[in-house]
């Protein structure tokens, strides 16, 4: 018997401001524009929204601020904040709320001015007294520690990491909306300024502005709306720690659990997935998630990436928008992984379109490899 949430809801609208460098726009401005775009895409109106899901790195009371600005009084809301993975947590929460009748139209939305706010951006009020004395650069040093351990245990090299950035850039060159589209070579990545060994500047995601939103309904209603629905077949979340020192094994993330939960709900396995978005805050992320989500064995992701498998034309297309490394990364990137899956399922990706995608996987990460969330989306044929 299939899982009671499998295929019962769908993404019927997506909004992406594509404003990666937008002075004089607040995070709320970006969020509102994305929400308007997503609702227009869905053929629905703000007054139809009765479920609100949002989190911001700049607001401690995101649901209240967003509801006021959008002029809505939702009857269901969720402001879970687990970093960049928050939005797939919201997706899972929205699926359950829709199926159980707690709401009929769910809006998941986000906005950021991470780039143009520059040094004015307040850091998240989440002090870490057991890390602060050592001045790790946040968050890169935590990812660097995981990368160092992966190299130590599995022979992963800086070249393997560099090839993740090169693959992302190759995809970005096919995406007119990507922020960074100049050619990038392995040598250029390796020559980039070291920030926290073994990660250099070119191993880090971009810092951009941006806004994104999704609109969800139950599957029966989705069929009557203008866009081809992207059905939610499965989701899973995993939480393993807050501080990197508390991560049980620095080479294995809770994506193992989130992935297994999503695959189980969807009734599919990694070999069935035709397109994958793996939250690449740093190059090491892509390697960890390829392994932890079952696309290769532990320790084999480096050679897999260097073989060209995840690049355009490869057998495992990954981060086809250019990823956080080359397309955009406005503070928290999770929603953009889902949006690219929906666009691929709709077949509207132009030069970067993966032919015939019916099953796509979006994976998001939050904190310092702390929260993991996986969503599997499918076309009507996969129901």
């Amino acid at each position: 018997m299939s899982h009671p949430l499998r295929g019962r809801t769908a993404i019927v609208g997506i909004g992406n401001t594509r404003r990666w460098n937008a002075p004089d726009r607040s995070p709320f401005d970006q969020l509102q524009e994305a929400s308007v775009l997503a609702l227009e895409d869905a053929g629905l109106r703000l007054k139809d929204v009765d479920g609100l899901f949002c989190s911001l790195s700049t607001s401690g009371l995101p649901v209240l601020n967003v509801a006021e600005r959008l002029g809505i009084q939702p009857r269901h809301a969720d402001g879970t904040m687990v970093g960049g993975a928050s939005f797939i947590f919201h997706l899972q929460s929205a699926m359950s709320a829709l199926v159980n009748g707690l709401c009929d139209v769910a809006l998941i939305c986000y906005g950021s001015n991470q780039l143009t706010a520059g040094g004015k951006l307040a850091s998240m009020p989440d002090p870490q007294p057991y890390e602060n004395p050592y001045k790790p650069r946040y968050p890169i040093s935590s990812y660097a520690l995981a990368a160092a351990r992966h190299m130590h245990e599995h022979g992963t090299t800086r070249e393997h990491l560099a090839d993740v950035a090169v693959a992302a850039r190759a995809w970005a060159q096919l995406n007119p909306d990507a922020f960074m589209r100049e050619p990038l070579t392995r040598e250029q990545v390796l020559a980039s300024r070291m920030v926290s060994d073994p990660l250099s500047k070119a191993d880090c995601c971009l810092v951009t502005d941006g806004g994104a939103a999704l609109v969800l309904t139950r599957a029966d209603r989705a069929r009557d709306l203008p866009r081809k629905p992207a059905y939610l077949l499965g989701t899973g979340i995993g939480i393993s720690h807050r501080q990197i020192s508390a991560m049980p094994d620095l080479t294995t993330t809770a994506a193992v659990e989130s992935g297994q939960r999503a695959y189980a709900m969807a009734g599919v396995g990694p070999r069935d997935i035709q397109h994958r978005m793996l939250y690449d805050a740093f190059t090491i992320n892509t390697l960890l998630f390829l392994e932890d989500l079952g696309f290769c064995k532990k320790g084999e992701a480096g050679p897999l990436v260097s073989s060209g498998a995840i690049s355009p034309g490869g057998r495992l297309p990954v981060n086809t928008n250019g990823g956080g490394l080359s397309c955009n990364h406005p503070g928290m990137y999770g929603l953009f992984t889902v949006i690219e899956c929906v666009e691929q399922l709709r077949g509207q990706c132009g030069a970067r379109q993966v032919p015939g995608v019916q099953l796509a996987l979006a994976h998001a990460n939050g904190g310092v490899l702390s929260s993991q969330a996986t969503a599997i989306l499918g076309s009507a044929d996969t129901l």
Binding site: P129, Y134, K135, L145, R149, R193, V195, P198, I244
Partner: protein, 133 residues
């Protein structure tokens, strides 16, 4: 003040963070150990991370451990080390290895804890004397 509520005596007294800091101020590096599963715990908390038990007790740590992961932070004011040290008792903590070039710290290096005194004392490590710990 002066009003006594019906608290559970198991949790009376300063909380775990305060107890840890007070011990460091007195020159002792202490770790919590679970009385049910014997796992060591860091950072301090009210419950055992391995089994969920609330029966934790403090023991002085001998401070021996090894580097589990390491990074060199490249800073204009000078490069410095950030490491995760695995203590012999099993707990891990973020720290720094002093007494050796930042980028010479290797995973597996045996290290010994030292308390850096002050109003907010903290623990750093140096390479252990006499080779393998």
């Amino acid at each position: 003040m002066g009003h006594t509520t019906n608290t559970d005596p198991r949790f009376d007294g300063p909380g775990p963070d305060a107890q840890y800091r007070q011990a460091l101020l007195e020159g002792r590096f202490v770790l919590q150990h679970c009385e049910d599963c014997s796992a060591a715990r860091f950072p301090p908390a009210l419950v055992c991370r391995s089994c969920g038990s609330a029966r934790l007790s403090w023991r002085v740590s001998p401070g021996a451990g090894e580097v589990y992961a390491t990074t060199t932070v490249r800073d204009r004011a000078g490069d410095y080390n950030v490491a995760i040290v695995q203590l012999e008792q099993g707990a891990r903590m973020m720290s720094r290895v002093d007494g050796i070039a930042a980028d010479a710290v290797r995973i597996g290096l045996p290290v010994q804890a030292h308390i850096v005194p002050g109003d907010e004392p903290f623990v750093v490590f140096t390479p252990a004397q006499g080779g393998a710990a």
